[in-house]
């Protein structure tokens, strides 16, 4: 069901309540209400079984989309860290000066 490789199972799974699920479930529910309205039926009171089914499908797809998204960003972060480790010369830390050292003494001229 997943379009993910085996190493994706090393990542923690997303919580069941995640934003992709919420949004897709909400828009699927809205789509079923719209289809009721287009067919001249009361939007919320008719076809509750359709509303519930579409919402569930949205939630389910959203969960898997979140998993794919987590894997993608974890891979990008890992590649970035590897690159930084392999090229330390490009990522030298600058000496930090505090503001007290840079700023001149304040002499009010009134």
């Amino acid at each position: 069901m997943l379009f993910l490789p085996e190493e994706a199972k090393d990542l923690p799974p997303p919580s069941l309540f995640n934003m992709n699920s919420v949004w897709l479930a909400f828009s699927s529910g809205l789509a079923s209400m719209y289809s009721n309205a287009i067919n001249h039926k009361p939007p919320l009171k008719s076809g509750v079984h359709r509303l519930v089914l579409m919402t569930t499908i949205g939630w389910y797809v959203g969960y898997h989309v979140t998993k794919i998204e987590n894997y993608h960003f974890a891979k990008v972060d890992r590649d970035m860290k590897e690159y930084i480790k392999l090229h330390p010369d490009d990522f030298v830390a600058k000496d930090k000066k505090t503001f007290a050292e840079i700023v001149e003494r304040f002499i009010p001229i009134r």
Partner: protein, 69 residues
């Protein structure tokens, strides 16, 4: 689907002897199709069960792979 509905209404208005091929009778909304309702609710429950099982399996797999269990 609403396009077929529009077409079927046109057939009622025209009053010719033939019936529309899309619908032989008007949809009666006072008699729900219980098989379809049961299938919809059944597949809803099935999908929720699948989701919970998948989540717990993923959690278990994550813990085993990272040595937390």
């Amino acid at each position: 689907m609403s396009f077929t509905r529009l077409l079927s209404r046109a057939a009622l208005v025209s009053k010719v002897g033939s019936r529309s091929i899309f619908q032989s009778s008007k949809v009666d909304i006072s008699k729900p199709n219980w098989i379809r309702v049961g299938l919809a609710f059944g597949s809803t429950a099935f999908l929720w069960g699948l989701l919970f099982k998948q989540n717990s399996a993923d959690l278990h797999e994550y813990r085993v792979r990272n040595g937390l269990e």
